[in-house]
């Protein structure tokens, strides 16, 4: 119960931070994707994870239309959470690989030209760094190791 509440707080806080457009190092790290991927390694029940992915989408919604970006983030979160079950590495490495993959896929969908830009490089670096931070934070709650 407390584990789920902790995960919900992390995802909600990350979504709010991102939705206010507060920049780090001049870019918006994809906190929602990072928090969803990291929490998927700690939540056992898939419906709990789906709830968090849906909650993140609502908090992040930035205009009246149901934008494609939110749908892709939702699907990416779920897809990568399923993919994690097939990774041969320990949880920490799995988190980092999936964050990199998730960020790359998101850019391939919506900004392929930006993949070779400084913005993408900065975002990848920040996403990975924040993924480590979230993993350490949630690991302290669950102490879950593969």
């Amino acid at each position: 119960m407390w584990g789920f509440i902790g995960a919900a707080l992390v995802v909600a806080a990350a979504s709010f931070w991102q939705s206010f457009g507060w920049l780090l190092w001049g870019v918006n790290p994809n906190l929602v994707l990072v928090s969803l991927i990291t929490t998927s390694f700690f939540l056992r029940e898939r419906w709990s994870f789906l709830f968090l992915a849906a909650l993140a989408g609502l908090i992040l919604k930035f205009s009246p239309s149901g934008r494609e970006e939110l749908i892709i983030i939702f699907l990416l979160g779920i897809g990568l959470a399923v993919l994690k079950n097939y990774l041969p590495w320990n949880n920490l490495l799995g988190v980092l690989v999936l964050i990199f993959l998730g960020t790359l896929i998101f850019y391939l969908f919506f900004g392929p030209r930006l993949i070779f830009s400084v913005v993408f490089g900065k975002e990848i670096f920040l996403n990975l760094a924040l993924g480590l931070l979230f993993f350490a934070l949630l690991g302290g709650v669950w102490q879950n190791k593969k």
Binding site: E45, W47, L50, G57, L58, L70, V118
Partner: protein, 216 residues
């Protein structure tokens, strides 16, 4: 029982997020420092405009009708630069409408209109492009939007200095709206053009209230 409750809540959240117009307004309050900074930038833009825009053109711009709008939220990813504002179809807002900070600083253009809100593509969007002029000698150039906007295709023989005003010269917008100032001049080794980086008078995250031009 708990699982069914979670499934139900998830379905409700998905419905609200993807099938309704509801979204959480994330409007921020403007601190006194920010308001003073924006006022200062507006006054500076006004003064700079005097030297580059003819009086009759300036008068036409001043009489354009503009409605104030609150910025509700900011596009949260790095892919593009957009804000959602509090005016929409019901307020006679149209696609392509000019959006400014004060009367003299260009923010961007309306890209999508909903019933009571609109999305505005700002000059920081990587797909934003418009013809501009630079300095008192009115050197022509093309503004390319992005995290760090720049002006390209400025002829090498045109005299441009650091600090020169960069202003709008696009039929879509009022003539002479400030985009920013020349921050750096890059002389390209090949070709007949040079490139300028732009120092902008605002950041997207600082936007609280803007003005939207209504069709005359």
């Amino acid at each position: 029982m708990r699982r069914y409750f979670v499934i139900f809540l998830t379905a409700v959240l998905i419905f609200i997020t993807y099938l309704t117009n509801f979204f959480i307004h994330k409007k921020k309050e403007a601190g006194e420092n920010l308001l003073l900074k924006q006022e200062n930038q507006e006054l500076r833009a006004q003064i700079q405009k005097v030297s580059v825009v003819a009086e009759d053109v300036e008068l036409a711009s001043k009489t354009a009708k503009r409605l104030p709008a609150v910025v509700f939220s900011v596009y949260p990813f790095n892919i593009k630069s957009e804000v959602t504002i509090s005016l929409g179809e019901e307020d006679a807002i149209k696609d392509g409408g000019e959006v400014t900070l004060g009367d003299n600083i260009l923010v961007g253009e309306v890209s999508q209109v909903f019933r009571r809100e609109s999305a505005v593509k700002t000059i920081f969007d990587s797909s934003f492009e418009m013809p501009v002029r630079v300095g008192e000698k009115s050197a022509n150039g093309l503004l390319q939007g992005g995290n760090e906007p720049k002006v390209i295709l400025v002829e090498k023989n045109k005299d441009v200095q650091i600090g020169d005003l960069i202003y709008s010269a696009d039929a879509r917008f009022s003539y002479g709206l400030k985009i920013g100032e020349v921050n750096e001049i890059r002389e390209l080794k090949t070709g007949a053009f040079k490139e300028l980086t732009v120092k902008t008078p605002f950041n997207v995250s600082e936007l609280r209230r803007v003005l939207v031009r209504i069709s005359d």
